[in-house]
Symmetry: C2
Subunit: 144 residues, 2 copies
């Protein structure tokens, strides 16, 4: 029997496997030029567009990193930069239809994973698991 792993590491193991599966599902759907780092940034974009600095904060990377990632995402046609009508310094990063087309594939795979986990644990324990994780956000999510 292995030594007891930290709870956070148990979370890491499960979440990484899930993340890999979603990423693979998106690739399998034909999106071969999105990387994990880019996807992490994409996740933070609001429907009406989001400022780069906000994106950087959400993905927990430096502004320069976000600039580089958006550059690549723009070159490959997943996002566009539009002027922010409220602030002449700022620009809003918005998803293109191509990026929006990714979402259903990602959501479907997430849905499948969720169902597999529920099947494995049973509905009651899955509900308890989710509840505990949601409560933990209060002390672990810088954006909660």
């Amino acid at each position: 029997m292995a030594r007891e792993l930290p709870t956070s590491l148990l979370m890491f193991i499960a979440s990484r496997t899930a993340s890999n599966r979603v990423f693979e599902a998106v690739r399998a759907a034909g999106f071969h030029d999105v990387t994990v780092a880019q996807a992490r940034l994409l996740m933070g974009i609001d429907p009406d567009g989001t400022r780069l600095s906000v994106l950087a904060a959400r993905a927990q990377v430096a502004k320069q990193t976000a600039t580089a990632l958006v550059d690549r995402l723009e070159r490959t046609g997943y996002v566009e930069r539009v002027a922010d009508p409220l602030d002449g310094r700022a620009r809003l990063v918005r998803m293109t239809p191509r990026a929006l087309a990714i979402l259903p594939h990602a959501r479907d795979e997430e849905e499948r994973i969720e169902q597999e986990w529920r099947d494995h644990l049973g509905a009651d324990r899955m509900t308890l698991l989710r509840g505990a994780l949601e409560d933990l956000r209060e002390i672990t999510d810088p954006y909660a």
Copy 2:
């Protein structure tokens, strides 16, 4: 209220925060030249040393990546490569005393996090959370 996040993403949020804290605690203890990628590899080293290919598999990176990471870890004095007596092709990667000195700092911070989470959720729910996560390993941990 925000839309419902996938369970795996909730895990990611908590585990990333925990990971950042452990990393910061190690830095604060004076280890300024270890990176996250290197730490991930270090975690996989057994007390008697571990082959590079096993390390690569555990960290889920390519062999060449593991080679590069071990190169850096060796240059900064955290690991050493020794001949594997059982296989002339292989070499065992072993922690040096310097690497071993990191462990208590990491474990202490993990312990603190664990306690904070337990305080926040209550002992019973924390136990349920851990139990569910351990069971999920059966279907999410390639090394379970």
